[in-house]
Symmetry: C2
Subunit: 209 residues, 2 copies
DNA sequence: TGACAATGAATGAACGTTCATTCATCTTAC
DNA sequence: GTAAGATGAATGAACGTTCATTCATTGTCA
């Protein structure tokens, strides 16, 4: 719409993946039918097969797009001025960007799929490892990371942070539909700040006291 | 086998649910067919319908059984002599009791289902709330819980602990099949002790120093 | 410019398969 | 003999996938 379409085929693929995200989040990978997706995208079923070999390929492409989106979030987190702000970006990106719950539901489904499909598991593990390495680096470089609580290393801290992030994502899908994006974001930020206090400010405060 | 069967109907139900757990973990709720379940249980398809109204009812019964199992774990955790041991029970119960990954895969699937099925969501939320209340209580009663790091309340600590537990459960499904139960348990225990150091021993150590 | 041919994006009915569910039939226990 | 337990072939709906067909757009030649 806003820009000239350099590659219409890429637009179509994106359009189909956008529709698939909505359908997958609403019904799950294997309960969402190709007809559901085509209806959501406003196109015919057959057209999907012009851009994707089969349903599996749609799922794989979704996972791949998710990988790229996560890497973009990591990039933004890297550029934040403070470690706390980096963490805030990481924790709120997953859960609040799109319409409520859609992304969280998709990611939980992705992990469920990963538990059965080794290819998906490899991709998710790869994304996770890259992200954790990035955050480990972020912590190691930041002044707060030097004297973290409990004598934990940057790597251990990063693992803990990502465990909490995944856990909150799981918690998010239990929330009723009525919760708005803003409410979810607020809840997430509260958790980040609590975690922050715990991991990075406790020791310092005690030393100062 | 080992005991006289007081209620054969209950045995059959358990037998079917045992088989369903294996199939659900292996294929997911909606990809596991009733034939898969009957084959795993060593009975005919039709017999399942004598004990369960339909497939949804099997899923609901599985969720319900899971609820009772979690409550038993909580009971055992309550009876542990120290808070650390309570946490160790809570963190290792989810992931290591049955054959590797089966339980974790089931729980991740349960959360995925909860994101679409409000009834399942209510049940899972209920289990979680009860468990968290129990652990909050456990922390409040324990000597270590009084002077926790970061000035966090028992409720906040409990929320954090359960977020990490859920996060580690998600991480568990990414692990390759080859990992044994013992390896998974060891990995979990390491996380518990790290969390323990962070939450409950840091302040004290510094005061002593 | 206008007439015509070629293209390939897009359609949706149809196909083969799978699956949840049913039920007529058989077996077992007392 | 009868009631309850157990079977698995049969049913029909739903699904992923295919493909003959349509038609707007583009290219070609006069």
């Amino acid at each position: 719409m806003s820009q000239t379409h350099l590659d219409p085929a890429l637009d179509r693929r994106s359009q189909i993946l956008d529709a698939a995200l909505v359908c997958f989040a609403k019904h799950g990978f294997h309960q969402a039918s190709m007809h559901d997706i085509s209806a959501e995208a406003g196109i015919s079923v057959g057209l999907i097969y012009r851009y994707f070999e089969n349903k599996e390929a749609v799922i794989a492409a979704m996972a791949d797009r998710h990988k790229r989106e996560i890497q973009e979030v990591l990039e933004r987190a890297r550029e934040a001025p403070t470690l706390l702000e980096s963490l805030e970006i990481l924790f709120t990106a997953h859960c609040c960007e799109n319409s409520p719950k859609v992304l969280s539901a998709f990611v939980v489904d992705l992990y469920a799929e990963a538990s059965r499909n080794p290819q998906v598991a490899n991709l998710v593990r790869d994304v996770l490892q890259t992200s954790m390495d990035g955050v480990t680096d972020l912590i190691a470089r930041s002044p707060e990371g030097k004297n973290a609580a409990g004598g934990l290393t940057p790597k251990e801290l990063s693992e803990l942070i990502f465990a909490v992030a995944r856990g909150m994502l799981m918690y998010d899908v239990l929330q009723p539909q009525e919760m708005t994006e803003a409410e979810r974001r607020t809840a997430q930020l509260e958790v980040v700040r609590r975690l922050w206090r715990l991991l990075f400010t406790n020791t310092t405060e005690l030393v100062e006291a």
